[in-house]
């Protein structure tokens, strides 16, 4: 099958040509409509019940006071008003933003650097590509435990390595200032493979003639990178940034295992707070309101990126 570039995967769907396919048995439109709905039925039923319905319901539940055990009370916007003085919520939002805006650029740089490195001699580099993808193919929860072990203060592996270079490593997961950077480092390690694969696909799609032309013009490697590689890779970069930010805003697994939100609330993320509100304090209405705020942030940030892409992303080859 044709490998799609990420740009194509995110571009507007093509209109199907309206060529009438009228074989002997395909006369009336009525039968086609009926057939279409029959084909759609299983997916559509599940989609309406488990995806579209719940999205609407989340909006409704956010207006209720409901602990699941007693009947719900309609409280209007009270849940949203509660968010204002809720300092834990704001610090969770701040922590999530901190995580996102540090881990996404770092992951992007590592992904891009490794994709460029592997692209230098890709034919014989297939084994490296597979090995470098391994962290992405692991389970977040499982590898989070290993990272807790790596981060052991004083004598842990990471601080032992830092010690070789004469650096006195921090207490990582039990330090207010270093717990979040520790989570970020682990997350970059876990997720760079995703971007790396997408960038490799993007690099493969760049026509070689352009590099030839740049060479004939005597362009320096850096200039070639700036003028050829980066513009032509920009759709892949854009796609990766958008999906990574959406993913980072939902960070949960590694924080739950590695720090459980601590020390204090320095690594409590938004999703962790939603989880605790809804499933430990049983305040479903309040948790739904928090999830709506998370959704609003994702929509705003994604919309901003789509506005920016007009100026920065080149889709024409």
């Amino acid at each position: 099958m044709a490998v799609e570039t990420p740009a194509a995967a995110t571009a507007a769907p093509r209109r199907t040509p309206r060529g009438p396919l009228r074989g002997p048995r395909f006369g009336r439109n009525g039968s086609e409509t009926l057939a279409a709905w029959l084909f759609l039925l299983p997916s559509l039923a599940g989609f309406l019940i488990f995806t579209a319905g719940p999205v609407v319901a989340a909006g409704v539940i956010s207006l209720l006071d409901w602990n699941l055990f007693s009947p719900p009370h309609f409280t209007g916007l009270d849940n949203f008003a509660r968010l204002g003085p809720d300092t834990t919520f704001w610090s969770a939002l701040g922590n999530t933003a901190y995580f996102t805006f540090v881990s996404v650029p770092l992951t992007l740089l590592v992904s891009l650097g490794l994709a460029l490195l592997l692209n230098q001699g890709l034919r014989r580099m297939a084994v490296f590509r597979s090995l470098l993808l391994l962290p992405y193919a692991t389970i977040t929860v499982a590898v989070a435990f290993v990272w807790v072990w790596l981060y052991i203060p004083h004598d842990g592996l990471i601080n032992a390595v830092l010690g070789v270079f004469g650096i006195d490593g921090p207490a990582w997961l039990i330090s207010d200032d270093w717990a979040m950077p520790a989570l970020i480092l682990m997350s970059v390690w876990k997720s760079f493979g995703f971007g790396m694969v997408i960038f490799l696909a993007g690099l493969q799609a760049i026509p070689q003639q352009l590099y030839e032309a740049a060479r004939v013009d005597g362009a320096s490697p850096w200039r070639t990178f700036r003028a050829v590689t980066l513009p032509l890779l920009s759709p892949s970069v854009f796609f990766t940034v958008v999906t990574s930010i959406i993913g980072s805003f939902q960070v949960f697994d590694q924080a739950l295992v590695m720090t459980d939100g601590g020390p204090g609330s320095s690594t409590t993320t938004l999703v962790m707070y939603i989880y605790r509100t809804g499933f430990q304090n049983y305040e479903q209405g309040y948790a739904a309101a928090q999830s709506m705020v998370l959704f609003a942030f994702i929509v705003v940030i994604t919309a901003a990126q789509f506005l920016l892409q007009r100026r920065l992303v080149h889709y024409d080859i």
Binding site: I49, I61, F128, L134, S220
Partner: protein
């Protein structure tokens, strides 16, 4: 860090030296990247005393393969793994079947409201799963689906992503094949089963593998919906393991390794599809 790396400067002067430097750099980066996975396995085979000492050791002083059995004895890890295969496999299977059917309708059949409906599907792609988490939980709880397989599998088996990916693929299938089948007197269902599905096997396999791997990784939903060993997945099982055997690093990491290794093996077997799945989709779970 990119085109300025010395390797490239040297590349123009001495291809052999450049090649060596390139391979060496790849080796170094790969070694650092694999360290956590290697350490997970090494610590898993250490003795209790060694793994719980104040100073962690990085190479087992003595090897203890019996730790594998001990990890399986402490919590029903085998059961959890089987449950995970059930959960991830069931979700992947249901998703690919229903998505293929719907994608065919969107790609090939004309009906009123097609583009509107497809638009509705697409808009849900951006909604974070936490928004639907609470209503889905309430729905499943009201239907008495907590701690049951339908309650685990159904809510995650009807995503717009699968429909979107397969529709893209179906649009690229030449219409001549279908025309030929129809002239031979096949009806729509026969055309779909005999012509479209065989051509789409690679795309369907890609979606299935990718979905399987992403669900194996899913922690939040099983954490919320399974509350007994009968449906508990490995990801949730590790949490239980941690709370009961927290300081036993060797057994904890053995359990983590046992949870991860099947997935890594699956990854190597299905790498082609897995990579394609990443390239085609935006399912970058973190």
């Amino acid at each position: 860090m990119t085109s300025d790396v010395p390797a490239l400067v040297a590349l123009r002067r001495s291809p052999v030296a450049a090649r060596r430097l390139l391979v060496f750099t790849c080796f170094l980066v790969t070694a650092v990247t694999l360290t956590p996975i290697v350490m997970m396995v090494l610590v898993a085979f250490q003795s209790d005393a060694e793994s719980m000492a104040a100073r962690p050791s990085f190479w087992p002083g003595s090897w203890h393969p019996e730790n594998i059995g001990r990890a399986f004895d402490l919590v029903p890890l085998g059961r959890y793994l089987l449950n995970t295969v059930f959960f991830a496999g069931g979700t992947a299977l249901l998703e690919t079947v229903t998505a293929a059917l719907a994608a065919y309708a969107f790609a090939r059949l004309r009906f009123r409201g097609r583009s509107v409906l497809f638009g509705v599907y697409l808009t849900t792609l951006m909604i974070p799963s936490q928004v639907t988490l609470i209503p889905q939980f309430i729905l499943v709880a009201k239907l008495h689906g907590v701690d049951t397989w339908p309650g685990m599998i159904l809510p995650h088996a009807f995503t717009a992503l699968g429909v979107f990916l397969l529709r893209q693929f179906f649009l690229g299938v030449p219409r001549d094949y279908e025309e030929a089948a129809r002239l031979d007197g096949a009806n729509r269902w026969q055309t779909f089963i005999r012509v479209i599905v065989p051509l789409a096997i690679p795309a369907i396999a890609t979606l299935a593998v990718f979905k399987f791997i992403s669900q194996w990784n899913n922690l939040l939903w099983p954490l919320v919906i399974s509350n007994s060993d009968s449906t508990r997945t490995a990801a949730v099982g590790l949490q239980v393991f941690q709370s009961t055997n927290g300081t036993q690093w060797n057994l904890l990491l053995m359990a983590a390794a046992i949870t991860t290794v099947p997935l890594i093996l699956l990854f190597f077997l299905t790498q082609r599809w897995f990579v394609k799945g990443i390239t085609m989709s935006g399912l970058g779970g973190r």
